[in-house]
């Protein structure tokens, strides 16, 4: 009996010891910079005096008072929501088809889908910039020659362009999340529904979709949080004037040199994202607890 207790305590001690390096790394590169950023957001800043380490709410009041910042945050979340909806609408059927493929085709198309992850974000977005490129861009030429639109659509420096490029960049995360959920499905379940008289559309709507919904939602959480905090795509497609939270923080830090204000923007974005992600995760878990008991 005493021997077991001895082993238990030594096990616990070994656990702490083993976790120590990772814990120190986490503290050093995540916790401390984060705390410093939060503290920085309460400091004062002036054109000529620079950063003053005092505790004031100036930056936070400015963010909440000035509609300029509200517009920026609304744009950030609007773009992220649309990008998420597009990845879900396109990614779910994509994953379903991928899951039904066999042999070499499956691995080939999986590679095509995760392809965007293998290319640098900047290169990928510059590719989109080339496709969009003003009124004579490839995308506009294609749309106009196919008769879908009469006059060229503006893609560059618009939210539309930003959403398209983001949706493309985030697609792999959605497809992989849905695909994982699809693989957990009992393949006989679809046959069971068929045998009970359901058409194939009914099977997808009533049987497959409800079961993979948690996968779709977790994919949506990933895509949303990555889109809302994305930097490179909004910076290149949106340009200097169409700013989102991440590019705003960047500008405050590097152009205006108003670090405390930039820190406040970054911290607000972080808090908003954490609240949204944690909140929706809790909702999903409550909604689907019967299924995953």
């Amino acid at each position: 009996m005493s021997a077991t207790i001895a082993t238990d305590t030594s096990d616990a001690r070994a656990g702490v010891t083993l976790a120590l390096p990772a814990l120190m790394l986490f503290t050093g590169v995540v916790v401390i910079p984060l705390v410093m950023t939060v503290m920085l957001s309460f400091h004062d800043w002036g054109q000529y005096k620079g950063i003053e380490p005092v505790f004031i709410l100036k930056n936070w009041i400015e963010i909440f008072d000035d509609p300029y910042y509200a517009e920026m945050f609304w744009r950030t979340f609007r773009v992220a929501v649309f990008a998420t909806v597009i990845t879900a609408v396109l990614g779910v059927p994509e994953a379903y088809i991928l899951n039904r493929m066999r042999g070499p085709w499956k691995s080939l198309f999986l590679l095509v889908i995760i392809g965007p992850l293998l290319i640098s974000v900047v290169a990928r977005t510059l590719g989109w910039a080339l496709l969009f490129g003003g009124n004579n861009g490839l995308a506009n030429k294609l749309l106009m020659s196919s008769g879908l639109i009469d006059s060229p659509v503006r893609f560059m420096f618009t939210e539309t362009g930003m959403i398209i490029a983001l949706a493309h960049a985030m697609m792999p995360f959605m497809v992989l999340a849905v695909w994982t959920a699809l693989q957990r499905l009992d393949p006989q379940v679809e046959n069971a529904a068929l045998s009970l008289g359901a058409g194939s559309l009914t099977v997808v709507r009533r049987i497959v979709l409800p079961q993979i919904m948690p996968g779709v939602l977790s994919g949506a959480i990933i895509v949303f949080s990555l889109s809302a905090s994305a930097f490179a795509t909004p910076a290149i497609i949106g340009g200097r004037r169409l700013k989102v939270a991440a590019t705003l923080a960047y500008d405050e830090f590097l152009n205006t040199l108003n670090w405390p204000l930039g820190a406040a923007v970054a911290v607000l974005l972080l808090i908003a994202l954490v609240l949204i992600v944690v909140g929706s995760n809790a909702l999903i878990e409550r909604r689907y607890q019967e299924m995953f008991r």
């Binding site: 379940v189 046959n191 529904a193 068929l194 045998s195 049987i207 019967e290 008991r293």
Partner: protein, 347 residues
Amino acid sequence: MPFLALDRVGKSFGPNTAVEEFSLDVAQGEFISFLGPSGCGKTTTLQMIAGFLDPSHGTIQLEGKNLVAVPPAKRGLGIVFQSYALFPHMTAAENVAFGLEMRKISRSEREERVRAALALVGLAGYESRHPRRMSGGQQQRVALARALVIRPSVLLLDEPLSNLDARLREDMQIELRQIQRNLGTTTILVTHDQIEAMSLSDRIVVMSKGRIEQIGTPQEVYEQPASAFVAQFLGKTNEFAATVDCTAGPAKLVAGSWSAPASVGVSGTVTVSIRPERISFGDTGLAGRITSRIFQGNHWLFQCDTECGPAIVIRQNDGQPQPEQGTAVHLTWQATDMSLRAGTAPT
């Protein structure tokens, strides 16, 4: 006219033949089992009847109508899958109601029939449970209720009891048989468990390597196996080679020093097979020695070394003293308990 007729049905996957020349007539209300080891084509055949696979050739007819052209959703068959394939996001009642919903049956009738179906399988009161919160046996019952509630013309069972523990499986066998008898639903069961096939079916189709080995009642396939495969797959059996000696007087079966009168019409080399429970120990007969003796409650299992090879003997535990290990014995049996097949048994 048979209720369900399969005529020379075959299925190949590329160069591999899964099922060939499968012909079977099923009468209405009959309980048929497809019995065989895994990979013998029994599930493939069931899937062709269900419509999940198209036969490469041959026809399947239900009540005289060609079934192959009908999509699975329109066949009106009830299927219980090995994994039960319940819809995990629906309650038991919603699972059972799904087939009725697809048939556009009014809500009130639907509720009535769902309640009746769940009561039939002994799950009254479990309507609002989700499958994940039910035991294997309960999930199995929901799957059965879901298949039966649509009043299928044929009930197809794909190894439905193989995921249950032994005790529950026996209970479910009895219950399944009772439900099937009461409803009179024509049923096809796929199984690799010979006990299950024998205790449930009116007729058994024994399959091996995509072919039908024998079709017959449980007694027929057990007592008169048509091939060495059937004899060995259903229960235990002893087989040894013998020759028919016609040189002097009436024909005799001879194997070593053992001999017995041969029935008319056999000649050359034959395989003699005897079920272990039909053998008793006597003063004359096939000489041997008991190598091990195992007590199994209601019977004793003896392994013997005879001059024709190893043999097993099962004796009822009727309270009589049984020979010890190492005893020299003679194995005897009635001539009617012995079946003969031309050729030597492949061993």
